[in-house]
Symmetry: C2
Subunit: 273 residues, 2 copies
Amino acid sequence: MKIKLANSYGFCFGVKRAIKMAENSPNSATIGELIHNAEEIKRLSDNFNVKTLNSIDEIGDEKSVIIRTHGILKQDFEKLQDKKVIDATCPFVKKPQQIVKDCSSKGYDIVIFGDKNHPEVKGVKSYCTHDFVYVVLEPDELESIKFHKKIAVVSQTTKKIENFKKIIDYLMSKAREVRVFNTICNATLQNQTAAAELAKEVDVMIIVGGKNSSNTKQLYLISKQFCDDSYLIENENELQTDWFNGKNICGISAGASTPEWIIGRVMEAIKQI
Amino acid sequence: MKIKLANSYGFCFGVKRAIKMAENSPNSATIGELIHNAEEIKRLSDNFNVKTLNSIDEIGDEKSVIIRTHGILKQDFEKLQDKKVIDATCPFVKKPQQIVKDCSSKGYDIVIFGDKNHPEVKGVKSYCTHDFVYVVLEPDELESIKFHKKIAVVSQTTKKIENFKKIIDYLMSKAREVRVFNTICNATLQNQTAAAELAKEVDVMIIVGGKNSSNTKQLYLISKQFCDDSYLIENENELQTDWFNGKNICGISAGASTPEWIIGRVMEAIKQI
């Protein structure tokens, strides 16, 4: 059985990078869960003694502190000056942090398209040097705001561009200059596109991920459109031999919260069939 | 008869300013017609000996050279170094010229929303310091262009914001940063809004302007919506006494190509009724 992986699948670039950094920093602690996957967090704890703290107040005698992909508040970052900091903030999140810092110090009002309570957004917002910073999801939330002449706008990395465009549309009538930074990361879209492309050229398609994960289910449905023999599994134990009868090429993709090592086990098991 | 002028009417700020500058520069020449109004150009010629040239090549022994509201090409401006230059470029046109110069030198690709052949647009475009400058009216004209990471966008001053928004919508998926400068001037809209407001509070409304001028007709139709006794005239000779029978307040507005002195004559004539 020939096995082909999708060109893009599973963890995004930023999460992969953060996990590698955690593996390289044994006996450290992350502030907040490094990723939304209990098995993976357990593995990091068991194998590398990487603990998970709820906030910077819980930091004890850890050798070093890992900042997760979402980033943290600027003021929290500053409190860590006397610690060894492993900054695993995703570079795609660092970008809007830097933009908000630069543009606010140049006198731009700041609009962040995103969820007020999301840790990434809270972190990005904390880099604003003044009080004219607004986090919104819909244009009508902007109505009562009296803007100055220049506005800089960033987006939470996981938002959809269609909705971001609505915000910009509205702001264009509100200021002389609207500086739009498209900080949306296309990781989810890339996984979907890659799954569709792979499904077209294989005989059987295996999607690995949680059955209650919405992005995994989405991948499965997309795959099914192009390859009727598509299957969604959580781990290698669910594989069935007859799925592969008379097939030559098997494609594999995985949801955004599926660790590489689970995918590896699935690949091994398919090879044995 | 009490007479009330609309809060905004007739020539826009930039044209008024240019005419004043021409009146203050007798024996000079303008490059291209100062405004699209033959009567006014004749007046400037008769009273101030301000000539109209077709291009800078026609410049002879004029004491000084007047640049009209549209502005001129950067390279033409530079050729006038040994002349006394009266720069009547509208400040609202200077702005996009400056933006194009600044942003192109900072490495932004430049998109100008406007008519390729309009003198204002040609002038604005000429301030770009590189070749990545595109003049478009519709998003589909952008499709074949390979943009760099940063785009700065300006608009021709007389365009509508609804269409400008479509261009920005398209560009947002094409670059990491889209810096939008809303350089649209609302002079026409302001005249319309002011005419509507005035029409609501007067007994009779006089709109002064060419009967074949589309913006003048538009003003008349707007006025008529709020004041049934609205009349469109080209000059004071068309006024009829019975329009004012039993009326107390007369409102006046004027089209964008109507000189102030024609409006003055109309006001005088109404006072005499």
